[in-house]
Subunit: 242 residues, 2 copies
């Protein structure tokens, strides 16, 4: 099965609770996406206000994590969910941990953007960083979209991009090393760029993790630490069964 609707329960109230839970994850995801957009604007336009906003507003993301986790505990306690409902609550609980950590990485990018702006080192190495930033931004967007539709095929599409992000990362790192060697005075600044690249790589990893939780919920199978080929095979078998 490629996507899954929340089953209708005898208790309409329980349905509402599960729907609200999903909606809250998407609101949290939207907030994290907004921060990532601002971080990219900060880097591309040297926008001081955007960078400062991102560096100081992560508390909003954190508050969502605590609130949604409380809601998960409350549902587990009150509803004692089984099967797909239990998997949904567990997938949500893991997803928000990854979203919170995306928030942490974006906050770091904001702080690095502030540091980079204060310097007069050449900015042409921004280009590669930004390309990677826009790539992981799209991954985050796509995986949240897959979450909204609980679409395991769309979640798998995101996971498939992980090797590509790794390649981009290696290419940019080589580029940044060349920069530092050519102009050793820029090392301290370029190191900020190195750490921004690492932060983007992490964001890609987290998007990948969220994709795996979606597949766990939809397919009932834990695909963490499973090769892309094996996941693809699993999804094919699953679509034949339905």
């Amino acid at each position: 099965m490629a996507s899954r609707q929340i089953p209708v329960h005898i208790s309409q109230q329980f349905d509402k609770e599960l729907n609200d839970l999903r909606a809250n994850v998407l609101t949290m995801g939207g907030l994290v996406e907004d921060h990532l957009n601002r971080a990219l604007t900060a880097l591309s336009n040297e926008d001081f206000e955007a960078a400062e906003y991102v560096a100081t507003h992560d508390y909003k993301v954190n508050a969502f994590e605590v609130e949604i986790d409380e809601e998960c505990s409350r549902i587990l306690l009150k509803r004692q969910p089984a099967a797909g409902d239990l998997r949904l609550v567990l997938a949500v609980s893991k997803t928000i941990t990854d979203l919170e950590r995306v928030g942490d990485e974006v906050e770091k990018v904001g702080r690095m953007a502030l540091d980079l702006m204060g310097s007069d080192s050449p900015k042409s190495y921004y280009v590669g960083i930004l390309a990677m930033g826009f790539h992981v931004k799209k991954m985050l967007h796509d995986v949240l979209d897959a979450f909204a539709r609980m679409d395991s095929q769309a979640a798998f599409q995101v996971a498939q991009q992980d090797p590509q992000v790794d390649e981009e990362n290696d290419a940019i790192m080589r580029h940044l090393i060349t920069y530092m060697m050519e102009d050793p005075r820029s090392i301290s600044q370029v190191l900020n760029a190195v750490l921004a690249v690492r932060a983007f790589e992490r964001i890609g990893d987290h998007a990948n993790n969220i994709g795996e939780y979606i597949i766990y919920f939809v397919e009932g199978k834990d695909v963490r630490h499973t090769s892309l080929q094996d996941i693809e095979q699993e999804l094919k078998l699953s679509s034949k069964r339905t």
Copy 2:
């Protein structure tokens, strides 16, 4: 209350399941600690075998994560735990995610150690990295010990070390930047050291997170994103209540 025993249940089988769950987390934690020890040996003794072992054995840690998470789902489904039991299962589910990510960081350190060994750049910058590595190794050990005893005060002691790790990180980074500026040919190698330092910093963060889950289980209060002062206050109030 500073520590908490698992309450005795009418079902001895359920008691056994919860005890096994905790024991499995400690076994997984012991494995991660073993890998971290090997990574530090690899760096301090230029021990190729230790580095290669660490760079290729993370799959063992991953397998534990999947197995323990399945056990958590099974207990939630079959036992529908309440209160402290539910908090225990949720704390375990979060703890193993952090342990798995410590495993990822240690694997990276192993790969970096392999890269560093292949080079002829000066090794004196190892000293600072190693000091930080031994510090976060102790944090991981202490937090696993706090988990074994479910001791929220001991968990808080670990969390208190986080600012110190950040300071160490900043000092080592300045040191490494100086190295790179003095010898630009070493940049590519020293960058491996920079990323090893980042990996150690992360391991400290994960130990801190695990400490917060222990406090959540013991005190019934989510202290993530709470200042050290506020957590300390909470623990003082709690110990007065008991």
